[in-house]
Symmetry: C2
Subunit: 204 residues, 2 copies
């Protein structure tokens, strides 16, 4: 390929990526206003100021835009998780759960909707919006290092922490607890688990 | 009112109740096939074999039918909870969580959809599909009787058990765990919590 052709292809790729990002921002805005289930190609097109056909070119159906937004949230969660985990200092679990909670409530309406849309991702075999296996490994190492990771009748501590996290998320995403209550509970997650685990170690 | 009039009013009331139950059964069938969000008045009318106007008379919008189904599920959960709790014998928490799990997976697709529709109920200030305050009181007394109910830095054991339950429900309702995995985890809930709490008691 000539260098001019290369430049053209590169420019086209950047344009595609930018259009996709604009359409996703439009979809996010619509979800914040009226939820996931009123999302249509027509509404996304109007919000982004493009032709309806363009939206079809990027997303087969509105659900695909929701899945893409959830995947983007997944990336942010994993980054938040890893950054605060590797920050150094004591109590990485407390640091991490607080950082994840602050990030999630900073765009509360959208993120709640994305958590309740997890079946769309899981049906496609995609990893859900919550922390992925790499995060779990890091968390597992942390729990092990602090002696909290012994298996308990078929369920290990990592699984208990994860399930507890999903429980807090469910209560928040359904509106049964507020942003403030969610952040407070996430802030206590580490001490609740640590206290339980300390008791558990003492009983072994 | 004459006894004939009374009989007529009673008959009319029974008819109203039966029609409502039929419409809800039709809505449940549609949700099992294609989810909560494709539910319309037209589809419910066609499924129930009544005129569309009749459906409007009972439910302002399809969400109202979803809320009614979730409230019905709530009644069944509370009954299952109370019945197995008061059955007598050891380990009411294990008995109850197993009974609730079996009941939920017996109509898995519908009940998963109803759990993910909890925001509709909560937005109306209605008690959500999961166990209500009366169940929580019973559970609280049980946890107390077995010495598991001491408060832990702002979170008591009842809250921890509840959040853990919601976590299992979230994983199941989103499809991240199967019916079988959900039942197994619900079966372990009591021993996981009891073991953690035993450790906690030992450390006090």
């Amino acid at each position: 390929m000539s260098s001019r052709k290369v430049a053209r292809v590169e420019r086209a790729t950047v344009e595609l990526r930018e259009t996709r990002a604009n359409l996703l921002e439009a979809a996010a805005k619509l979800i914040r206003i009226s939820g996931v289930h009123s999302l249509t190609h027509t509404a996304i097109a109007a919000e982004a100021g493009v032709a309806r056909q363009s939206v079809y070119r990027y997303f087969k159906d509105p659900e695909e835009a929701v899945v893409a937004l959830a995947e983007n949230l997944g990336v942010v969660i994993r980054d938040t998780f890893n950054t605060s985990f590797e920050d150094g200092g004591p109590d990485p679990l407390a640091r991490t759960s607080k950082a994840v909670a602050s990030m999630l409530v900073s765009d509360s309406v959208l993120n709640k909707a994305l958590y309740l849309s997890a079946p769309l991702l899981i049906a496609q075999g995609k990893s859900p919006v919550f922390p992925n296996e790499k995060n779990e490994e890091a968390l597992g190492r942390q729990l092990e290092a602090s002696g909290l990771a012994e298996p308990s009748e078929g369920t290990d501590m990592l699984d208990i922490v994860g399930t507890y996290f999903y429980g807090l998320v469910y209560k928040w995403a359904t509106g049964s607890s507020s942003d403030k209550e969610f952040c407070a509970a996430m802030g206590r997650l580490a001490s609740d688990i640590a206290e339980l685990a300390a008791g558990r170690r003492a009983s072994l």
